[in-house]
Symmetry: D2
Subunit: 202 residues, 4 copies
Amino acid sequence: MTLRAIALNCTLKPGAAESSTELMLTQVLDELRSLDVETGPIVRVADLDIKPGVSSDEGDGDEWPALRRQILDADILVLGTPIWLGQPSSVVKRVLERMDAFLGEEDDRGRMISYDKVAIAAVVGNEDGAHHVSAELFQALNDVGFTIPAGGVTYWVGEAMHGIDYKDKEPTPEVTAATNKTAAANAAHLARLLQGDGYPAT
Amino acid sequence: MTLRAIALNCTLKPGAAESSTELMLTQVLDELRSLDVETGPIVRVADLDIKPGVSSDEGDGDEWPALRRQILDADILVLGTPIWLGQPSSVVKRVLERMDAFLGEEDDRGRMISYDKVAIAAVVGNEDGAHHVSAELFQALNDVGFTIPAGGVTYWVGEAMHGIDYKDKEPTPEVTAATNKTAAANAAHLARLLQGDGYPAT
Amino acid sequence: MTLRAIALNCTLKPGAAESSTELMLTQVLDELRSLDVETGPIVRVADLDIKPGVSSDEGDGDEWPALRRQILDADILVLGTPIWLGQPSSVVKRVLERMDAFLGEEDDRGRMISYDKVAIAAVVGNEDGAHHVSAELFQALNDVGFTIPAGGVTYWVGEAMHGIDYKDKEPTPEVTAATNKTAAANAAHLARLLQGDGYPAT
Amino acid sequence: MTLRAIALNCTLKPGAAESSTELMLTQVLDELRSLDVETGPIVRVADLDIKPGVSSDEGDGDEWPALRRQILDADILVLGTPIWLGQPSSVVKRVLERMDAFLGEEDDRGRMISYDKVAIAAVVGNEDGAHHVSAELFQALNDVGFTIPAGGVTYWVGEAMHGIDYKDKEPTPEVTAATNKTAAANAAHLARLLQGDGYPAT
């Protein structure tokens, strides 16, 4: 059976603006593809009109239902966010909020609709905040049914109060490249296990 | 000299939809008015088009510049947010992100433009998350120049995994009413001190 | 193959003092045993002299090396902590810090020594903080090699600023009992999968 | 009237072991002294036997009562902590837990015993975590009665997944030196205001 991954870029910058988060997601998707995981284009969430709310469809003009469908069709979610003020972006928060509705949605075995899916985080900032951002992402993703593999985050941040961007680092720092690889390998491994033998209904 | 407060309701619900956060903000503003602090109407942020970004004006259609002006014209910011998944709302995160620009903006004494302003938080959920939400709000607000008075948060949450709303609690729990009062009194006291004798330029 | 679980009670109370965390851990271990997972006695960490530090042995009198051995011999770690000031206890923080050494320790396949182990959290407070505590635990546990199953936390907290203890709730709230069961079932399922087919070396 | 500051070094290393946190605290105290704030020696908390618990005296051998007295005798608390796994140290968590007792202790005006005191944080790690650590410190300190001045944290962290220590940076990074100065100046200013005109009883 094939595995599918979806990557969401939750940068604040819409359109084709350069994005360090995009670069890191590209690198993680490359690793996933080398492990025979299918991937589509990275979704730039700021280009979509994701309405505020905690239901699966907030009505007229809401572009969440289509994105939700893509997430539920994938086995692996790669959630990419920049860091602002040491915290996850408002865009990734919006995505997590909308997934709150999973708590009330069941699959045909009576389990939360997102069960057996694996999530990893890709976090980029010019200084500080990656651990906290992954903490908030892991907790929220886990609340709404995702499994977090060992080494479930890859990240880069620069020295305190300096202003270097990941996209301007040449070449990619070796430790981050290695972490990209591990996160992808562990996500693919765990998603394969759960695809073959999912969680029991309780 | 008069003190002015501005209250932002960062609920996910636009329009006039009932909001527990609105109720708590109303209570806090009542306390502030009893201390001779001027207040305007509560701002429902979800009704505004606050663009993603970290500059003070993200261009065409951005309603942040007008809200930013109101915040800078006030002495006290009352930041109200619901809790989703144990975390601050995407709407309050957007507001904090936009205030990131304060880090590069100086007043005529060379200090961050938001200096001498006091911020308090009003946090409401049906279960769990108030301390963490106040932690994130305090840190982000402090980063962008606000001062946090003793007892700088008022909150209500219900028992774990139950679904009661603050707006449906009758009467208001006494401990929360007392905390509203203390937060307001401390904010007004500290704002008055800083209005009379602001931080030095360094 | 048999699965083994170890439960750590990170209450601040040493000795046999009554502990809400102990009660919840007992309930989770009961669930695990019903799934044929072997368990030993709950470890009351405050009874041990776990020295401050980030190495695997901080020398004379340090009781971490023996506890570390027990953790590494188990397939499932159930990490139980009370909430104080909305945050994890200093005792559980000490345990996490000592596991920091795992980052530099490899098994015979060159992977982090803790790989293929599953961790879940049991969090108890008289009000507020469970989501944040699980966020910090998930992130730290994941950093040091553990995998977090879907629904990887069970918790109970009471209404804001009230002082009820979990150990005095009779009977156990149904939602928490159900969450205990799910956390245990998911942990056992995932630990079994990883026991049969562990993460690749990268 | 004179102002007094107390600085706590919450490193995991007891004795005279070199500590980056100690270096930063020394720098902050130098700034405070240049503003006519009295300071004593930095307290290395890992050298004291601070028992687990949430009362003001946990009995035989507990060295918290004496440290508590020093904290209450000061106008400014400078709380210094290293970062491990992106989080505050277990030692600083123990200090915060013990201050939980302030919630039930009143001064002669019926206010929380710690009122009118200002707290700032000094946070040091070799990579990532400073914003989150300050968030947790601010929230816990504020819960137990402290006021947080604008710019209430100074910090240094290095690039992601590198291992440089602050104590080995020569010279001190200019941005951190400037932040030390601002945090000290704002703390002294606010403590002076509150010494002259404290919060009202509510």
